[in-house]
């Protein structure tokens, strides 16, 4: 892997529009000034932040700056989720600015969420002045130490003349290779000290050169396996989204007529309305996707990491297949599941090469089996007169938005139903905390997406539990007049916890019922100046959705009161293999 390709790639991702967004080199600038100039030069337009003592000088510089759009969030955790949602929706790194101590520690959940899903973030934290570090000063926290295990890399700036370079390196690291969050800790004296801004754009880190080009011999081996496969399957993960390889993937799967299943993180990389799509696999995957994974003879994993929620019991995972795995991170290969043909590289480069080298396999018999599964075991939606079924709620949202919305979800039952029943046809459309499973993520992430993408509707689908973890952000959404739709799947309980308690703990609903103390979500919305709407029947639901889609000058909170004791199926119980999934009894 040569350095030039790296720099080219970095340039491609951070191509700076010429003209006013390239600040001129200057000397004698304060650290804050250098920071903002470098951000502008790196094509950053939006920062999610919250002021505080240690970063006051930066906020003072921001006061006069018109090139950067600073969004005042209401809690640093939500701000980090917002930057994460912005990154997932736009493909650009999300930027966060918070103060020292609690400002930094509040970002931890957001950073860990981004780290688990490989989302590029650059988080700036204030820090007490260098001479006070280690003194247990007011609002001091060792944020570099705290975030070490959850960042791809982090820095403590000790020289103002290194600041610009550190920021450029941080962005380079955040977006290149397997993306991830990077944190920069800025002591207050570094923010105030005078230094120079050079405008030198090139970044080279001798110790960091991810391999992007796949090994030719491995690609040939993989092509042979695929060409001769009788029951091939492509298993697509979030890496295809991060590597922006959805077109290459779709072209290949269509030409070779190979079925495609996606993980939660891969949803939208392959249009779900195409005949080759089998939907999601894993713990709450479709019957067909899980059976195809079990029965296939060649499994091509693309940018996926064989997570335990995907594989189920390992010795029962795809036992008859030979496996090919394309990933930019060598440590993902053969970590959980042994792979016969590993290909380390950038999926966007490797997929077309593999496509070209592969001959269309004969999959007619395989397709007949798959179609039979699909006919006999479709996703079930139970119907009950006058009651909103959660699956019907997702279907209705899918219909009301023509499948064109960016959908952010929280974590739990509604997340799985959204993954199953919303028809994702476009990449960068499904935003969810897959790896860490962070409740409270959905609403602020949707907010971040809405700041980044103006021409598509953005819907947050959340539960009544998760929404309350970050509902303070209604203030932010109202302040910036975001046309955000927040759909609360209100079942009055922590649905997935309750489901597990029903199935595995003999109905002992220990601390999972919220209904008695839930707020009136309509009034809550209204108190912030948002629109609040409620539906308790399917007819009302359609009305509410219609109304909400027409409101474009402020957020709308839709309180959908759904069937409380509905379970999410199919389900692979913990410790079971994919083929041992249960479909429920209704």
């Amino acid at each position: 892997m040569s350095n030039t390709t790296q720099t080219q790639q970095a340039k491609k991702k951070h191509d700076i529009p010429s003209g006013k967004r390239s600040p001129a080199p200057a000397e004698g600038l304060s650290g804050s000034e250098i920071l903002l100039r470098t951000l502008v030069d790196l094509d950053v337009d939006t920062i999610f932040g919250y002021p505080g003592g240690a970063v006051l000088p930066i906020y003072d510089t921001l006061y006069k700056n018109t090139d950067l759009n600073h969004i005042l969030i209401r809690h640093e955790q939500a701000g980090t989720h917002a930057a994460d949602g912005y990154a997932r929706a736009t493909g650009k790194p999300g930027v966060v600015l918070v103060t020292s101590g609690p400002g930094g520690t509040n970002t931890v959940t957001g950073i860990a969420t981004a780290a688990m899903d490989s989302i590029p973030l650059v988080v700036f934290t204030g820090q007490v002045p260098t001479n006070l570090i280690g003194n247990d000063a007011f609002q001091e926290a060792d944020i570099v130490g705290i975030t070490r295990p959850i960042t791809k890399h982090n820095y403590l700036v000790k020289d103002v003349n290194q600041l610009e370079h550190v920021i450029r390196e941080a962005f380079h690291i955040a977006v290149n290779g397997r993306p991830g969050p990077v944190l920069i800790d800025l002591p207050k004296d570094m923010i105030n000290a005078k230094g120079s801004y050079t405008g030198h754009k090139s970044v080279s880190i001798p110790s960091y050169n991810p391999v992007t080009q796949g090994h030719q011999a491995q690609i040939t081996k993989a092509a042979e396996l695929l060409s001769n496969a009788e029951k091939p399957l492509i298993y697509v993960g979030g890496g295809v989204m991060l590597g922006e390889a959805w077109e290459e993937l779709t072209a290949m799967a269509e030409r070779l007529n190979i079925p495609v299943t996606t993980t939660l993180m891969g949803l939208g990389c392959f249009p779900e309305s195409k005949p080759q799509s089998l939907g999601m696999l894993g713990m709450h995957g479709t019957w067909t996707a899980n059976m195809a994974t079990t029965e296939c003879d060649v499994l091509l994993a693309v940018g996926a990491r064989f997570d335990d929620r995907v594989t189920g019991r390992l010795d029962g995972f795809s036992p008859y297949s030979r496996k090919i795995h394309i990933d930019i991170d060598p440590s993902c290969i053969s970590k959980n599941v042994h792979v016969e043909v590993p290909i380390v590289g950038d999926v966007k480069q490797v997929l077309p090469q593999l496509d070209k080298a592969t001959q269309k396999p004969n999959t007619d018999k395989w397709w007949a089996t798959i179609r039979k599964w699909q006919k006999e075991h479709p996703l079930r939606i139970s119907h009950k007169e006058g009651v909103i079924k959660p699956q019907e709620m997702i279907k209705a949202i899918s219909k009301a938005t023509n499948g064109n919305a960016i959908v952010a979800t929280d974590v739990g039952q509604h997340q799985m139903w959204a993954a199953q029943h919303y028809t994702f046809n476009h990449p960068r459309s499904q935003i969810t905390s897959g790896g860490l499973g962070t409740m409270g993520y959905g609403f602020p992430a949707a907010m971040g997406a809405a700041f980044g993408v103006k021409d598509r509707p953005v819907v947050a689908i959340v539960g009544d539990g998760g929404f309350q973890m970050t509902s303070c952000e209604l203030a932010t959404a109202v302040q910036y007049k975001l046309p955000l739709k927040i759909a609360i799947m209100n079942n009055g309980c922590l649905g997935m916890v309750r489901q597990w308690q029903e199935l595995f703990f003999e109905n002992r609903y220990s601390h999972s019922i919220l209904s008695a103390s839930n707020p009136d979500f309509v009034k809550l919305a209204e108190s912030y100046g948002a629109v609040g709407l409620r539906a308790t029947t399917p007819d009302e639901m359609h009305e509410v959705l219609q109304k909400a889609m027409d409101i474009n000058d402020r957020p709308v909170v839709m309180d959908f009161v759904v069937e409380a004791e509905e379970n999410c199926y199919p389900m692979v119980p913990t410790g079971a293999a994919l083929y041992e999934m249960v479909e429920g009894d209704d």
């Binding site: 690291i173 880190i205 960091y208 440590s331």
Partner: protein
């Protein structure tokens, strides 16, 4: 995969891993953090400047089957400050550890201790009425043996450096 091979793969074995990394504390903390955070074993670690200024050479000894050690090396490589990771175990390599062993002495025991010291080609580097300190260099087994031989006399303190190792360049037969 044949079952013989998978058995060999599952066998827990000692591994010596040599890492070149930027010489800073964040790098060292991240390297150690991989072991604590991912539940890998660490038997010894030594950190010091290598052949280039600003670059540290870290020698780690760990235990695990082939799969675990492969994950360890891959995870180490992911640390941005890490320049190179080499599992020395599969090639000939030279490995040394240094220990200082402080032993209680009596006029009666002193000469016997000195004899043992000679057998291990160790040196006496400190001597007082009641104590003497032995410097012994070798691989881990040799140092373990020296300590065990001296233990009956009464060991007061032991300081060990942990292994340092490099690939062996000499490929002929001795």
């Amino acid at each position: 995969m044949s079952s013989v091979r998978s058995k060999a793969k599952e066998q827990k074995q000692k591994h010596t891993i040599s890492v070149l990394a930027n010489h800073n504390l964040n790098a060292l903390c991240r390297i150690v953090g991989i072991f604590s955070g991912r539940g890998f074993d660490i038997d010894s670690i030594s950190f010091g400047t290598g052949e280039r200024p600003g670059v540290a050479r870290i020698t780690l000894t760990t235990q695990g089957d082939e799969h675990i050690v492969e994950q360890i090396t891959k995870q180490l490589h992911k640390v941005i400050d890490v320049i190179k990771v080499k599992d020395l175990t599969y090639d000939p390599y030279i490995e040394r550890e240094l220990a200082i062993i402080k032993v209680t002495t009596t006029p009666a025991s002193r000469s016997e201790i000195m004899q043992i010291t000679q057998v291990f080609r160790a040196k006496i580097i400190d001597l007082s009425q009641d104590n003497l300190s032995v410097e012994v260099t070798g691989n881990k087994d040799k140092i373990d043996a020296a300590i065990e031989m001296l233990r009956p006399f009464g060991i007061k303190e032991v300081a060990r450096t942990g292994s340092v190792a490099l690939k062996r360049e000499f490929n002929g037969t001795i």
